[in-house]
Symmetry: C2
DNA sequence: GGTTGACCTGGAGCACACTCCAGGTGGAAG
DNA sequence: CTTCCACCTGGAGTGTGCTCCAGGTCAACC
């Protein structure tokens, strides 16, 4: 298996079909193949790219920045340094976000303990 | 010090003045005192409550659920069990979110390493 | 040959959480 | 006395990221 219908792709990627169409429309997906009747056909490469998009979205990257990354990715090897910088900056934001969640979670857990003592 | 102007409160809580007004309007803040000329005066208790709201927002709780929590908090001791359940459920979502971020961060870092090898 | 179901398009609509605006007030500093 | 600034109100507007809809196509199954 190496070709997937829109429905299968939605399933595997975790994006809805509408979102896949939207992503293609705004330029996050390019050159998605079509079959003879005009329907989209996704490849393993498309799936891998969607996996990357999934990763970036899950970690809170805004669409605009994903778009920038997509453009770079289409740009070939000269863009690798910039892609690297973009991902490194994002990684740091993710790290900070995890830190914030952890510390606020401690607050929540303290509150849970506090309530727990009352009952 | 135990009374704070809207500006000070915005500073200390990390919410904008507009957001403070908005939160009061929708019921996340209740009984905020006013001075003789109609301006809001926040107390240390208000600040502590805003700290809790900050915590819940930072960890991604939707406004609707914070509203529910606020109503419970206003309801007195009979609501403690329900507040506990709400916070526990939220804590689990936070835990899951941290897990997702960590695993997707690993993906990003792998990609960073991959790009790093190319340059 | 009809019906079904997955898909197509362009474009409108929606949920969320603010954020901004116009027009006004009240106390304080110069 | 005027100027300024922080604040007030009700309500409109914004950005983000989808999500839904009407109307249509096409291949497959009964």
């Amino acid at each position: 298996m190496s070709l997937y219908s829109p429905g299968e792709t939605a399933q595997k990627s975790g994006f809805s079909i509408d979102t896949l169409r939207y992503y293609e429309k705004i330029g996050l997906l390019s050159d998605i193949a079509r079959n003879s009747s005009g329907r989209r056909v996704f490849s393993d490469d498309d799936l891998a790219w969607l996996g990357m998009l999934r990763c970036l979205r899950d970690t809170g990257m805004p669409i605009a920045e994903m778009l920038r990354y997509s453009e770079l990715a289409r740009g070939g090897d000269e863009t690798i340094v910039e892609r690297l910088a973009l991902l490194r900056a994002h990684d740091q934001r993710v790290e900070a976000q995890i830190g914030l969640l952890r510390s606020q979670q401690a607050h929540i857990q303290w509150k849970i303990g506090y309530y727990g003592d009352q009952v």
